[in-house]
């Protein structure tokens, strides 16, 4: 299998440009990352066996390793890359949930549960879209909290990885996560 997800060099540079404040670079980056993630996800799903489930961050990690030129990569790149992937995941999920909502029936059944325990009685798609919409609102008053939720919930990042991606201390991430979660919980139930 060959790499089709864009040249590592190009992706690394795009990441650097984005870090430097070039928002257009993100626009170029997203489709490349998406393409690679789709390809890897398909490969994973194929190889997956009933008794093994996919590790949460393995996919993005592998995409990162494949797409970023490792020799010149700075450590921040990894966190940056995870940030891009989390945005992408959010978009994919929201698009999918919207399409499903429009379609009402049919389509592939994916259940996105917001917590391990049962008890959130809403429909998964409705839940997901509600989280997304509440986050958009949150972004207006507290963009950092929104990013924390995006990385944690949509990107599957740990507190430490989130701190790395945002360039803040992990105590900060923990505090922001705690409040954002409480706020969202209040909003959504």
């Amino acid at each position: 299998m060959t790499d089709e997800g864009g040249s590592p060099q190009g992706v690394t540079q795009l990441l650097e440009r984005w870090r430097g404040g070039d928002e257009a670079a993100l626009g170029e980056l997203l489709p490349l990352v998406e393409q690679e993630l789709r390809r890897l996800a398909r490969a994973y799903m194929r190889r997956e066996r009933a008794d093994h489930t996919l590790q949460p961050t393995a996919l993005v990690n592998e995409a990162y390793l494949r797409m970023i030129d490792q020799r010149g990569a700075r450590w921040q790149n990894r966190a940056q890359f995870f940030g891009v992937a989390a945005q992408l995941m959010r978009r994919v999920l929201v698009d999918h949930a919207r399409a499903r909502r429009a379609q009402k029936r049919g389509g592939t059944q994916f259940s996105v549960s917001l917590c391990h325990a049962d008890g959130v009685g809403l429909q998964p798609d409705a839940d997901l879209l509600a989280v997304h919409e509440a986050l958009e609102e949150l972004a207006k008053i507290d963009p950092q909290q929104e990013r924390v939720v995006e990385l944690r919930f949509f990107g599957g990042l740990s507190i430490e990885e989130t701190a790395e991606a945002l360039g803040v201390g992990h105590a900060t991430v923990e505090r922001e996560w705690k409040m954002a979660r409480a706020w969202l919980r209040g909003r959504l139930t």
Partner: protein, 1010 residues
């Protein structure tokens, strides 16, 4: 909330969380002094925090991965089609993707359908080799090798259709616990037998593992996916692949991914060396080991560890470590299959098979001896004894096994007798476990609960496979030949052909440029009568069935273009024909004496109906069955005494019945016909005495024109594969008309009746992609489809947007009555607006959205009526006749008048308009028929069939009276019905029309019908 207040809330939230109970309350009292709102917010946040538990802890990530992975090969939902397969459900998740249960509509059997991921099939060469191997293995017809029916593709999807196995994978069997030695031996023997056969044909499996061994509930083993490993294997070998992946830390970051496959890999595979049949021997050894030990022989914490363990010289731990009391001989056999050096292994699966069988025999003898002695706690004997009991349990749990369907299709010869025994057994005692020696081994046969479909003995095969349109199959009285109308491969006009059942090319009986259809055999089989549709008039003709000169029997009055037919009476003295009194009137049934030429009326059709069609004599010649139309798509079957008399209804529910043909069963007790009663047209049977029609099992949808041999053992019918899609082409206002049309709204089933929303942003259309014709919408580019109605029965169509784009009116026939309905453009409740026992069709909105105009026969004849859009009493609008509404402007209502039959050319073509302020009705356009016109502000867009050679979509300009051609259609693809409905976008830049992209016919033969 403003940012300042948010920050304040945030800091109070965190500070308060650091305090507990009274201290927290005191802190908040002080901090929020005088600001009750702030305090409420902080307290609400704290409360939410305390009950948030695991909220949001499960990332949405896995679902996202599934979506990412799934997008390119979207899951198939129930009712979807792939080739001639209809998805019925999901069987399970295989290594290569989802496996579906599907109905092969052509052959009427259930199959397992596996989609191949696109990355597997990108390499054409590799795909070709895979197909070769898979076919080679399947063609061995070995009872333990899964039979492949077809490796096909449809659009971007590549799929494998195989026999359907009711059972579980060996993986799941092992997951339930270690297997007793006897059962493990039995399963291994079957796998070894499959491998020995495959190796004999030069096919190495390469990927023997528990996932690839299916165990049927009756103990039968089926080895699946022969050749598939060819698709997935990388040139450099698995070890290299693992290394390559490991370079990207694939193995270390996600141990599960490669693990599944490496555990059964032979050392040579792990090294990336060439593999041969001894590799399969190794993998089977690993399988046998795991069945008994409960774990694979070589394991480790990661794929790399496993590979290292396989490649080391260290042998696997003895089985006795996991299963004390395992026979010494079994240890020897397993260790020989798992010899690291190929030369030291069993050199063939056959050798292994011999040893396994010997061992089993020995154990059985021992068990037999022990059975007559007092029980001992010996593991082996317990294992052997335990097996039938375990099977009996499974039998109880799975009494609805559908094994009968694969038994009916392609059993290996050796198994047929045993299966016949199984059925006999089933009658005697449904839970019995019988033993029978079949071929090479012992099989446990069991009852299936007695739900064998009557179609199980039927053998359904295509009689024709050549291209071109076919119609009207008619089996000869002796059942040995079939006459039919065919265009020939060159898509000429239809002529009459005769073909022997089985081999042989069709014999062409007619060559006239006119269309020849509806062949009917004389009782002695020497002549074939048929209808000739010629420009100078239709006629009933006859020709010798071996070829020869044709003769006109009688000229017909009817100018009907398709559905006329004739039938010979069993005594050969007269013929029943369809004809009308006036050229365009509905047809009735007449009898023609072949001796005197005398014509006698047998029925009088209902006025303004589709007529009486398809006369067929009962086998004893005393009755004539026919279809009687009440109105569009509302038909019933009747019988009338051939001597004359009052017709009697056989069906009374008024469902749509195909005029393609019907026939009597040989005993004269039932009538087989094609009808649409939920879903698409399919074959149904009804007792002549009356009663509820029942679907013919296993025949499938899109089937027409049943014909039965006199002996009753053969049934033939027409199977039609049809795919209509909505296409888009430049419209009357487009600057550049040269842009080629593009397929715009598509599925593997039908799309038609498009309508743009008033703002041009959305398209409403009718589609049967859900299994029944329903109303759907999509965006202007054909994306994001949404289903608005779910009648699940009857035709639904004619969607029309309200002027504000909020609602869609349409007509539907969920029961035997056509009514006008309204639904929100975004979905929601469907509301029926008319309830009269009359046909109410094709609604259109007034420009203020207050009224709906529609066509109705409620007054006794067809007129346009109107009613308040919210529902209410309709009032008649037209006086001089009206059928379908076309459009309403502020000044005029445009509409069409009725055609007696959709295919009849009559003076009713064209468009009329009525001044809404009062005034005379006037004809504004004289071409086009009801469903094929679209009124724009400047003119009429219409379908010009120019049958049969040059169909076009044209535009007639009201002002200039000029006609311009918008689209030139492929004559092979422009059908009637759905196919000609069209719509112009509000800006006039586009025209949408429905085109028949696929329309293949096969004549299918059912043997052993009776």
């Amino acid at each position: 909330m403003d940012v300042g207040r948010w920050q304040k809330t945030k800091s109070l939230f965190h500070d308060a969380l650091e305090r507990e109970g009274a201290a927290r309350a005191a802190f908040l009292d002080a901090a929020c002094a005088g600001d009750a709102g702030l305090r409420r917010e902080v307290e609400a946040l704290i409360a939410a925090h305390e009950e948030s538990g695991e909220f949001l802890d499960a990332p949405a990530y896995e679902a996202a991965t599934a979506i990412l992975a799934d997008e390119r090969v979207p899951a198939l939902t129930e009712g979807r089609r792939l080739g001639h397969y209809r998805i019925v459900g999901v069987v399970g998740e295989g290594g290569m993707g989802k496996v579906y249960r599907a109905l092969d509509e052509r052959l009427g059997r259930e199959v397992a359908l596996k989609l191949l991921a696109d990355s597997f099939v990108r390499d054409a060469d590799r795909l070709r080799r895979f197909k070769q191997e898979a076919r080679a293995a399947s063609s061995l017809n070995h009872p333990n090798i899964l039979t492949i029916h077809e490796i096909g593709e449809e659009g971007e999807r590549n799929y494998i259709a195989t026999e359907l196995i009711e059972g579980e994978t060996l993986r799941r069997r092992i997951a339930r616990g270690r297997l007793p030695v006897g059962e493990a031996l039995d399963l291994s023997i079957q796998v070894a037998s499959a491998l020995a056969a495959a190796h004999g044909a030069g096919v190495v499996h390469r990927d023997i593992k528990p996932e690839n061994v299916m165990v049927r509930a009756d103990g039968y083993v089926k080895v699946v996916d022969f050749g598939l490993a060819k698709l997935t294997e990388r040139g450099a070998g698995a070890r290299a692949a693992a290394r390559e992946a490991g370079g990207w830390s694939l193995v270390s970051t996600s141990p599960g991914v490669v693990m599944g496959t490496v555990a059964y890999m032979s050392p040579e595979q792990a090294r990336g060396a060439d593999v041969d049949e001894r590799t399969d021997v190794w993998s089977l050894g690993a399988l046998l080991y795991e069945m008994i030990a409960g774990c694979a022989p070589f394991h480790g914490g990661s794929a790399n560890d496993v590979l290292t363990s396989i490649l080391s010289t260290e042998p696997a731990a003895p089985l006795a470590r996991y299963a004390p009391g395992v026979p010494e001989r079994l240890e020897e056999i397993v260790s020989k299959t798992l010899a690291k050096e190929r030369e030291e292994r069993y050199q063939s699966a056959k050798d292994l098979l011999v040893d396994l069988k010997r061992l089993r025999q020995k154990l059985e003898v021992r068990a037999e001896i022990e059975r007559s002695a007092p029980p001992e706690p010996a593991e082996v004997s317990a294992a052997v004894h335990a097996r039938p009991a375990a099977l009996t349990d499974e039998t109880v749990a799975r009494t609805t096994d559908g094994g009968a369907s694969d038994a009916a299709t392609r059993p290996a010869p050796a198994v047929v007798a045993a299966r016949g025994g199984k059925r006999a057994l089933l009658v005697a005692t449904s839970l019995a476990v019988a033993l029978a020696v079949v071929g090479f081994g012992l099989y446990k046969l069991r009852g299936t609960g007695g739900s064998k479909p009557p179609a199980a003995a039927w053998k359904i095969t295509p009689l024709t496979s050549f291209a071109g349109g076919k119609a009207d199959p008619a089996l000869s009285p002796d059942g040995q030949q079939i006459a039919f109308a065919w265009t020939g491969v060159g898509n000429d006009t239809l002529d009459i052909y005769v073909k022997l059942i089985g081999e042989g090319t069709p014999l062409r009986l007619t060559t006239n440029p006119a269309r020849d259809m509806s062949p009917a055999w004389s009782p002695d089989g020497r002549h074939v009568a048929f209808i000739r549709y010629a420009p100078e008039g239709n006629s009933l003709m006859t020709v010798p069935s071996l070829g020869g000169s044709e003769r006109k029997l009688v000229s017909l009055t009817s100018t009907g273009a398709f559905y006329l037919s004739a039938a010979w009476s069993p005594d050969g003295k007269e013929m029943a024909i369809t004809d009308s009194d006036l050229p365009s009137g509905p047809t009735s049934i007449f009898l023609i004496s072949l001796e005197t030429g005398e014509r006698r009326r047998l029925t009088t059709s209902l006025p303004q109906s589709g007529g009486d069609l398809v006369p067929r004599f009962s086998p004893d010649g005393r009755w004539v069955a026919f279809t009687r139309s009440r109105s569009t798509a509302v038909d019933d079957i009747y019988v009338v005494p051939a001597a004359g008399g009052e017709p009697r209804a056989v069906t009374t529910d008024g469902r749509e019945i195909s005029a393609s043909g019907l026939d009597w069963t040989a005993d004269g007790r039932e009538i087989i016909f094609s009808s649409r009663r939920g879903g698409l047209f399919g074959l149904w049977r009804v007792s002549v005495a009356g009663g509820t029609p029942e679907p013919m099992p296993g025949i499938g949808e899109n089937t027409f024109a049943p014909t039965i041999s006199r002996r009753g053992d053969h049934l033939a019918y027409l199977y039609r594969k049809l795919d209509y899609n909505i296409w888009r082409a430049p419209g009357p206002n487009a600057a550049n008309r040269d842009a080629p049309p593009t397929r715009h709204v598509a599925s593997t089933r039908g799309e038609g009746s498009p309508r743009y929303s008033p703002d041009g942003q959305r398209i409403a259309f009718a589609s049967d992609r859900s299994g029944n014709l329903e109303i759907w919408t999509c965006d202007a580019e054909g994306g994001s489809p949404a289903q608005l109605t779910r009648f699940d029965n009857g035709q639904t169509g004619s969607p029309r947007w309200s002027p504000d784009g909020q609602r869609i009116a349409f007509d539907a026939r969920p029961t035997d009555n056509s009514d006008v309905y309204v639904v929100g453009a975004d979905g929601g409740a469907v509301r029926r607006l008319t309830s009269e026992k009359a046909a109410d069709i094709m609604p259109v909105w007034s420009t203020d959205g207050q009224w709906l105009y529609f066509g109705s026969d409620r007054g006794g004849d067809w007129q346009i009526w109107k009613m308040p859009a919210g529902g209410g009493e309709p009032v008649q609008v037209t006086k001089g006749g009206g059928f379908g509404t076309l459009s309403a402007t502020d000044e005029f209502l445009y509409y069409s008048r009725r055609n007696a039959l959709p295919t009849n050319k009559s003076s009713a073509t064209g468009a009329w308009r009525l001044p809404l302020a009062g005034g005379e009705e006037e004809r504004v356009f004289d071409q086009g028929t009801t469903g094929t016109m679209f009124i724009t502000p400047g003119g009429v867009c219409f379908f010009d069939p120019a049958f049969p050679t040059a169909p076009t979509i044209k535009f007639y300009n009201f002002a200039s009276r000029q006609v311009t051609t918008l689209v030139t259609l492929d004559p092979a693809k422009s059908g009637a019905a759905l196919g000609s409905r069209l719509a112009v976008s509000p800006d006039g830049l586009w025209v949408l029309y429905s085109q028949m992209d696929q329309n293949d016919y096969e004549i299918m033969l059912v043997e052993n019908f009776r």
